[in-house]
Symmetry: C2
Subunit: 260 residues, 2 copies
DNA sequence: GAATACGATCTTGCATACAAGATGTAATGC
DNA sequence: GCATTACATCTTGTATGCAAGATCGTATTC
């Protein structure tokens, strides 16, 4: 028996990430970014932290998010945790197994495809319907890519993962549509979880480079080309997913037991 | 003083719909569709009913949804109502005013544009990335349009409104992407609320006809044309919104008091 | 008569208590 | 030794209670 037992309702350890009991592991949720300490009374803080942790790769798909653990971590009652979980559930980030617990989504191969297709539709559609774009917007985007490059150089994997995912949200918001930005935040979070699940080997440098190319096309006033590049970019992201490797747990187990 | 007083926290009566106190008016939420009585223990029933009521035009933007009222209507405690509200909040259908109450969204002109733009991006993007389409799928869509026509003929405005909105969800799901379908459910619900707010005069017959044309294009194996038609369709929907008429309440009040 | 202060009564915000189910563990039978 | 059963302990599900704020009506004050 390991030194620390897994919490009762726990599924199997998600990936290789878990080496500590949940309450300890999940402590990363608290002090991650000191910048928004002001909004400590923000009822959305729990959601935000979880999304951020997922985007940073700190939380793995299938990971259990116990109400009690979270209530201790955030020092609130289970009520507030539950309310945050309800919102995250509506956003497709977590799901509940009755009387067993809350779990970060573990999309099946099919769900993964649908999610990426949805992103493709939304992002390509967003780019082809652009009218004009201002230099200031280009500057904002370039700054984002610059910070991506800095994260790449510094070797901060969490920051890198976060920024690469957040580029797409940033793009939508910079182009002036917060509604699309909000939808993309959820879809990219799910994509990052999918990538973690299916062990994406997608190169971060390549992603960053492609982000730059998309901005180039926008700067040249060619949104159609930008849309095409985005399509290619998302195909690369998808192609990097090794769907066969993990498949979903049930399929995996089934195959294993059939001696395949 | 009127025979029935408005609930304390109530904003102004939303549109001309309110002629009864909320608890009575909202009774429409209970027995709307007898078909899914089986799932009475489904914790999502409250959300579903509210979405459906909004799509049917039974619930107006700005309408107050008191926790107590709903808990009486659905015969559950406030806890479950609150959880449903949290999910609806995450889906952008309701919003909360602290210690005053929950309200169906009343999008500003800007938010309305962003929502329709998001729909355009998503639906156009979905159509241009279609590969092949089966006759069975075309049949499903035709059946939907048929039921739209029946609702038009029968004069059932609620059913008409619901089906015209639901076409877009149906399209996404039929084309095989439930993720897009889920996103579109929320976006179309918001659009219907916007239409109610800005008094859309968009002709229902025209909408239904355009739905048919989109299916025609898909059947002919021309998704690009379908995408173009969808773009036009959504522009018609948007154009029908008489943004100036109500604008938002503040603007409206301002204009009224300036004697415009 | 107009402005203000105050309290009654509504609302949501949040914590807590208990019910009910799921799971791991140890005792029991053979 | 192995299967079965009973129980202990964890989990979420749901209702309820009380706190705190917002609004409205009324009395009070100038």
């Amino acid at each position: 028996m390991p030194a620390v037992a897994l919490a009762r309702g726990g599924r199997k350890p998600a990936g290789t990430l878990i080496a500590l009991p949940n309450p300890v592991r999940l402590r990363i949720l608290t002090g991650m970014q000191e910048q928004d300490k002001t909004a400590d009374r923000n009822p959305h803080i729990i959601e935000d932290r979880i999304i951020r942790a997922a985007l940073s790769g700190h939380i793995a798909p299938g990971e259990r998010l116990g109400e009690k653990d979270l209530s201790q971590i955030f020092n609130v009652s289970r009520t507030l945790v539950r309310e945050a979980m309800m919102r995250l559930q509506a956003r497709g980030i977590v799901e509940v197994s009755p009387r067993r617990g809350w779990f970060v989504i573990e999309p099946s191969v099919e769900e993964a495809r649908h999610t990426i297709d949805a992103r493709r539709a939304l992002e390509v559609g967003m780019l082809v319907t652009i009218h004009d774009i201002q230099p200031a917007q280009i500057r904002t985007l370039r700054e984002h890519v610059l910070s991506e490059q800095q994260a790449l150089a510094s070797g901060d994997r969490a920051q890198r993962s976060y920024l690469l995912g957040h580029f797409h949200v940033c793009l939508a918001e910079t182009l002036g549509n917060p509604v699309i930005g909000s939808l993309l935040q959820d879809l990219t979070t799910r994509t990052v979880l999918i990538a973690a699940l299916y062990q994406s080997t997608h190169d971060a440098h390549e992603s960053c480079c492609e982000h730059g190319q998309i901005i180039d096309a926008l700067e040249k006033g060619d949104p159609t080309e930008a849309a095409r590049l985005m399509d290619v970019h998302l195909r690369h992201v998808e192609k990097a997913l090794n769907y066969r490797h993990v498949a979903n747990r049930l399929e995996h187990l089934k195959a294993a037991l059939q001696g395949i």
